[in-house]
Structure formats: C-alpha cells, structure tokens
Symmetry: D2
Subunit: 301 residues, 4 copies
C-alpha cells in the first residue's frame, strides 16, 4: 500500500514526498507521441499514475504531463534524462523536463507589510498540507519580522530605493542561490523586480495581483474597481515576467460586491481571494502541473 | 390576501402588475430624511412594503428606494408627485422619481444575428415570469425574423451603413416613441448607437457585453480573453452611454475556463452568462431597483 | 484544415459531425494499458485528438477516454470493435464502448408544464450549438404543444395515472424504439418513471432536479430550501435510476440567495440554474465524456 | 471627518470601535413602524448611518436593523433602552436589542486539532481586520497550544469524556463568564456541546460545519460527499442549537470538485471554504447584522 492510499484511508492529507517522477513536455503535434512516451515508461517497469495531455488544434501543438511510480523503474535515476532523450529522438522541437518528487521543494517568500497571505502559506507549511521547506523570508520592511520569528524562519530585510535596487537584488540573488531555492513566491511583495532578477527565475516567480487581470493592473486595483463600479472583484496569480502584471496567468478567483461596499470592504473581501488564489497556484506548482507556452499556462488536471 | 401572497402560496411566480408605487431618490446626506419620507407615506395611509437606503460616507450622499401599497393611499395618483415635492421642500439637490406599478412596462428588443438572449427573454415574457409588453423587435438583419414570427411580435429591419445610420436611427426613434417604449434592451445588437440616439433614452438602454468589463471592451472579447490566457471569463450588463462599453454596470457574472477551452468553447460558455446577466439587469430594471449616480449604479436589494 | 479549425478561426461554434471515434473504457489498474491502447490507434494510422485518463488509487481502477480521427484509419469501421477486442485480450474485466461521431445523436425530450428548459434546449438545437436530431417531444400534458409547433417537432401526449402508467410507458417505449432514440432528456418532466422503463435506457436518461442533491430530493425542493433557511440553492443533473433523485450526478451549479428571497424568488433564480446545468449534462453526453461507475460519474475533461 | 472616512481614504481597513448604536428588532408587520423608529432617532439628534428592513409578506412579520451615530445623541447611553421602550409602546410582540459599538467584542475560540480556521481568525485579529479581544482559547486537546503561545493568548485544555462532559462544561462556563465573553466561535471544535451549555449562549455560539447543510450533517461529511459523487462541496456556518448541525444558517460557500478529487483533495479544498465561511459569519456577528427568527437568520445588508 503506497503513501497515497494511506493518506486517503486515514483521512490524513497533504503533499507527501514520494518516489515519483513527472515529465512535462510540449512539441509540434505528432502522431504516435503518446504511445512513444508511455512505451518508454512501461517498458522500464514504470507505473503511470497520472497522464494528462492537450492538443492545441489551431497551432497543431501537443502538451503532456505524465507522472509515474519509480519503485520498480529499471533505469537508474541519474540516467533517466539521457534515456528519455533517446526515446524521443526525431521528435522535432520537443521541450521537456523531468522532475523527481523525492525531495521537498525549497520555497522563498517575499513580503512587505501585509500578513494575510504570509500566514496562510505558513499555516499550510506548518500543518504539512504542503511538504515544502521555507529556508528564508525576504522583505523590504521590518514589519513582519515577528511572524518569521513565530515560525522560526530566517527573515532578511533589504530596503529598496531607486538607487540601491540593483545592489540589493544582487544580494538577494546570492542568498537565494546559496539556499538552493526552487521557486519564489511574492506574497503581496510591493516592489517591482528588475528584468535581470526575473531572468534568473523564469516561470519560477509566482505573484498574486489583487484584481481580475487584465482589468486593473498596477497600483491600487481595488480603488480602481470601486471607481468603475464593477459588481465582481477578483485576484490573479501569475508568473512574473518583464512586463508588470502581464505574465502567464496560473489561477484566478472572484467574489461579488455591491454598491454598499466601500474601498475598505473591497480590500477586506479581496484578501480572501488573494490567499486562496496564491495558494492554489503554489499547489499546482508543487505538483509540477504548470507548463508555460507563449504567454499562457497549461495547468494540467 | 394580496397577489404577492397568492403567488407565493400557490407556487406561481413572476412580476405581477400591482397597485404599488416606488420612489427612487438621492440627495446630499441629510439627518432626518428617512423619517421625513416614511412619514409622508404613512401619514397618507401608505403601507411600506420595501425600503432600502444607502449612504455613501465618503461623498456624504444619500440614496433610497421605497415601495408602498397604494390601496388605501389617501392622495390621488395624479397628485402624488406634487405632494411629495412639498414634503421634501428644503432638501437640497434632491433627485427623485416616482413610478407606478399598475401598468406593464413596454420593452423594445434590439437584435442582430444571435438568438440565445432573444429566446431567453421571450421565454420569460411568454411564461409570464415578467409581466411586460414587447411591442416590437428591431434588427439590422433579417436573420431572426422567424423568431419574432414564432412569438407573433412585429419585427422591423433597419440595415445600417455608415451613410444611412442617422436616418435609420431617426426612423427607429419614431417607432419607439410611437409605441411608447419604456426602455430598450440590446440583446446582442451588433451596432454602435450614436450619442444622439442614446440621449433620447438616458439610463433606459440596457446592453449585454460579452466580457467582464472593464476587461476586453469592444469587438471580439472572447478572442482577446483566449489570447490573454485568463482562467475566468464573464459577461456584463450595463446602461449604454456615449463611450463604448463604459456605461454604468448593472450586473456581472463569470465562469471558469481552462487551457483546453478554444475560442469556440469560450463563445459557447459565455452565452450562458450573457443570457443570465442580461435577464438579471432587466429584472432589476422592471422592479425600479436601479439608480445611476455618476458612472455607477446603486442596485437596491 | 479540419472543421474544428474552421469553426475556431471563423468564430462559428457548435458540435460538428465529424469522422471521429471515441473509446470509453474502464478496468482494473493495469501497467501498460495506456501504451497498449494508444499503440492500437497509432499503428492503424489513427490520429489521437483527445486522451484523458484517471486512476482511482484507492480502488485500483483505471478509466480512460480516447478520441481519434478516422480519416486515415486503416481498419474499416465495421471491424474496429472486433479489432479492439483483440488488442486488449488479457485485460481483466475490461468494460468498453466505441462510439462514432459521424451521425447526429437522436434525442427525445420529456416535458410537463414548465417551458424554460425546453426553450433553452430548442434554442441550442435550432442555432446548431448542438448538432442533434429531436424526432419527438413527449409530455403528460397538452400545455407545451404550442412550443413543439413553433419548432415543428412532433408532440405526443401520454396522460399518466396510477392505473395507466405501465400501459402508457409501453407506448412511449415503442415510440422511442421506433425513432431510434439515443438518449432521453427529462426537461422538468414531473412524472416518476417505472424501474422497468428506466431499465431500457441505463445511463441514457438525463434528469434535472431543482436542488443541490443530496439535499432536498423529491417534491418541492425550493419550498424545503426556503424553510431550512439555506443561503445557497442549486440544481443537479443526473442519470435516472430506480431510486428517486439518487442516480449518478453529472453536473451541478448553485447561486446565492438571501432572507429577502421568497419561495417565488427561489423558483425564479433556480430556473437559471436548471437550464444551465441540464444543458451542461447534455453537452457532456453528446461528446461521450461521461462514464458511470458504481453510482458515480467520471466526466472526462 | 469620521474614522470610517479616514480608513477609506487612507486605504486602511477593519472594524473600528466607534460611538455608534445598533438596533436589531422584529415584530408583526405594522404600518408606520419605520417612521416611528427613525423619528425616535432623528428627534434626539441621532444620525442614521445604516438602515435595512425586511418584511416577510407571507407571515406578515417585520424586521429591521438601524445603526446611528451617537456623537450628538441627546439621550444618555444608560437611558436609551428605556426611552426606546417608550417610543414603541403599543407595538405588539416587539422583540428588540440595542448594542453599543464603543467596546471591542470579547470572543472565545474553541478548537481541537486542526489549525487552519484558528490561524485565519488570529491573523485577522492581529492585523486589526477585526477590532476584537480574544481573552482565551479552549480546547479538548493539547495539540494547538503552540499557536496560542505564538499569539500570547491563554490556552485552556478540557479533555472531554462521556463521564466528565458535564463537569468540564461547567468549568468552561465559569471561565467564559469570568472573562465576560460576548460570543463563542467553534473553529473546528470536534465535540458536541450539551443542550444545557448551549442554553447559556443562545444565538451566540457560531460553528463551522464542513458541508453544504442540510446535506451531510454529522461526522465525516467529505467522505460522504465523495461517496455520493457530488460535483460541488460546501461549508456552512450556523448558530449552534440543541439539534446537531441543524441551527440557523448564517453563511455558506461552495467550490467545484471533479471525479479526480480524492477524499484528501476534498478535505484540502474544503479547508479554504471553512476559513472563509466561518470568518464571514464572525464578521456579520461583529456588526450586529444577524437576527434569528424561527430556525432561520436574517443577515442584514
């Protein structure tokens, strides 16, 4: 009985570290590609646990995610990537990555002054809903240090000015590399990152923006929503790219408002969305379910 | 036992024509204004059925809707407006209207080629969910004439070109005045109305736009939503104003989509939203629940 | 360029009759089963268009849906089922069906007195959102005959009493067989079908129930919801089985209500849900995306 | 400029302690009752900030909530209740309460082993989203003591067995009275309270149940939902009454699930709902917006 079963039967829950591998790939549409890859796995005694594929019929492009159990897999872990490369010889322009699920992901959190997303993430971390490591929290303010201390996580403050931004980011990058960080989460981090910084973590920086993008990008979206008189507000989690609030969207959610809701009410109601949507995006990322293509995401089932 | 009770008890449903009056008003915030107005009604033996008020604390502005039963009201209908004016003497900058609910509203529908909103409205009309009259349907195309014929409603076609637009609108206006139309519904009418036309029906032309405004105004919003890779699409019902898709929002709704949804899927899923949201706006209008203020709506409970 | 592309590019939409085949299958979990089946298709020059699989890890059971293009398929249509049987020799307890998408499905509608679901379906039918045939409408009342006449569809009335139910159902079954009906839709049909009748169409009778099942099964669910004071109401589409309102759930949706909503308001708001949820279930059925297992459905992506 | 304005303009948010009073009342429908009460307030120089009323047309019953600013109110606080009683002399069977908003509410939290609702509440408390006091946390387990310590709140453990339940509840009641608790929040407290305990806090114990009541009351609702194959799960916040999970519903929310969601996934997704719905109910309670009538709630706008 594997761990998934145990967790289901006992009513426990969360992401468990398991001896699984995940392939994320895309390529031009190609008759036989599913057979080709499933054959590679089953011939080496891998047991496919999840497979989801999608074909973009307009652009003739194929996308797939496969997860398999490695317990009986006959190829040693260190050779799998080379073997897989062999198996897809001749598939044109194939892009692929293989991830192993036997180590917890290492996540860095970036915050400024608002605590709701931070607590939401830390609660999931502490209760083992997510089996991750959080080696550090980075902020441009001292304000939330007490929360880092509540959870015994190192808290590094890098105040940002126009003049020192590049230098501070260089220090942050050093720290992130040092801690071998898998991906970054901007949990209401109120600073724009430079293109150079972002380039170090392509599709590996998750932001939460407090509007239904593409409506109301930039600063003070709840004020803009209130002014426009919308009846529904939202939150959007996306990968950070060079253009502000314009990266590939991972998750969105909304809630209804009425004319009686002041800007303060929008801010209050929106916080519920921000927490849920950011955590949804992190959850998908932890399961290697997100593929970016152009400026869009494929979020596998 | 009044008609509302009967409809509730017998499981029937719909808007019934009743001997009610509705006051919609707004003015600068004013201590005692609620007392002032409720006194006017109760002193003349009106029985208040619904009262909803809202104060914008930032702009110090007060809004109210009151509905009362006229059965024992001691002021004759034709004198009520004058009497009310007396009762609020001294209230600065008050804007108000009184509506009587003893006549079905007369609604004109505008359509082009898509039938889903039209059938949705006609079904509600025919089943008496809405006790309205639809004296005519106006279109810029012949395509949906058969539907008008199914329901035995006059169908007038005014093909629009850049050259003839003003002349055609003049004919439409004549027809609308002739039929004593209370308000217009653009049920996926694919023509931009001129400012002059709109000025004849301020806050009396309801449009349905197939996106979550302010995202994706203008043409082909589903194509834009697909291109941006959003995870939620929407529809918005609003009053038509001179600026395209920028009028006061009345109602909105959304649904989730995924990367697997093509533009066709968005169009298909969006139609469900368009029908529901447009009908929701019409329903609020029929009950005199919508007040516009600036470029926003107050939609009373 | 195939029809899907055309419809996407031109902004047309709907289900088109195409030269596709769909396999729906389930069996005990089985290493290599995906490879086995995708090999069968690609070796005979089938081009896989959609593949979705799911493994129930607790019960060790595997489910899959595959759709492929038959244009270059080397096995003649009449031999495909036999060939497939060969290809899965040795897979224990496999249940499977292959459907061909080159003929419109033939759907029978059952109604009583409420027109909203009926119009909603007929609008989708007439606008070619769904490429189906509706050879007949069956009712236990005369009331909606005029709608059948509007759309020129034969309307058969079978009044039902306790005494004549079996005899009437026998006549209905005869008619359904005669018209070679693929599946039945109960569009607010207010009669309970006998177990014997249901047995003729297992997983082929779709009902809409006006509550969030399992809450409020049986009669007058909106009255019960109002009495209980719920803040959310719903609608549920499910396959009809011998136990009333207890069959496998296909689709559900909900909307918010408040204390101000009377039973009539619930009925009115609920109609929107009923239309959307029933049509969602029909749409999934038309695409062969629903598999029943135990008393549950797998609704493939 | 009052505090509300400041908070709106500066983008701050939360419940502020203010010199306001709130009247919650209900009585048989009564021509002139609104005038009667608004007159009482405005004649004594109270400035009405919010007024919401509702008439149950079937049962001829009237409900109202009024909030007014006390800054210039001419009746001393200690005499208001007596004065109000005078003003409604002759109104039959009137039930009413007046609350003052110049003191933070004192809330007791009850928990067992799950931390998500507890952290969610404590984050709102600590960030001043809610201006409340939490004098103590009560649990039947030691497990969450570390969280109480993180936030420096006294944590009292009362292990419950069938034998000691009455005795333990007596001790809990003593503690609650001692701390002058306004209302209790069961934040996933996994013990059934006795009728006697509940009777001490009528409409003052808020529970969160992890299903869309009335579906799946009692233990393990996510397991039951999974077994039934529903496509939507929910959470319900309600007042605790003698009958388990059958008290007046305050707030509900739902989310979609699919066949791919295991019981663990339901538990994980449901936690988001539980947090949001419980906090929504607490928020309404803090604003004195909830009136119970029969087994239902009126939640004013």
């Amino acid at each position: 009985m594997d761990k998934t079963d145990i967790s289901t039967l006992l009513g426990e829950k969360g992401i468990y570290i398991m001896n699984h591998a995940v392939l994320l790939m895309h390529c031009a549409d190609n008759k036989g590609i599913i057979e080709n890859i499933t054959q590679f796995i089953s011939q080496h005694e891998g047991d496919i646990i999840e497979l989801d594929q999608y074909t973009d019929r307009v652009n003739k492009h194929f996308f797939m995610r496969v997860k398999w159990n490695m317990d009986s897999f006959t190829i040693p872990k260190e050779n799998i990537r080379a073997s897989f490369q062999q198996s897809v010889v001749g598939v044109k322009d194939i892009h692929w990555k293989i991830y192993f699920c036997d180590q917890p992901k290492r996540v860095a959190l970036f915050v400024t002054k608002l605590s709701h997303c931070l607590y939401d993430i830390l609660q999931r971390f502490q209760s083992k809903e997510w089996d991750i490591e959080i080696p550090l929290i980075i902020s441009n303010h001292e304000k939330l240090r007490y929360i880092a201390e509540q959870f015994d996580i190192p808290y590094h403050v890098f105040p940002i000015t126009k003049e020192n931004k590049l230098a501070q980011e260089a220090k942050e990058l050093l720290l992130l590399k040092e801690h071998n960080i898998d991906f970054l989460v901007l949990a209401r981090y109120m600073q724009v990152l430079t293109d150079d910084f972002i380039a170090h973590y392509p599709s590996r920086i998750i932001n939460i923006h407090h509007s239904s993008l593409p409506a109301f990008p930039g600063a003070k979206p709840y004020h803009s929503a209130h002014k426009r008189g919308v009846k529904i507000i939202g939150a959007t989690s996306h990968y950070v790219t060079a253009e502000l609030d314009a990266g590939p969207i991972i998750a969105q959610d909304v809630c209804r408002i009425t004319h009686t809701d002041s800007v303060s009410d929008l801010i209050r109601k929106g916080r519920n969305l921000e927490k849920t949507v950011l955590s949804e995006a992190i959850w998908q990322k932890l399961q290697h379910k997100i593929l970016t293509y152009g400026n869009k995401t494929i979020v596998f089932q």
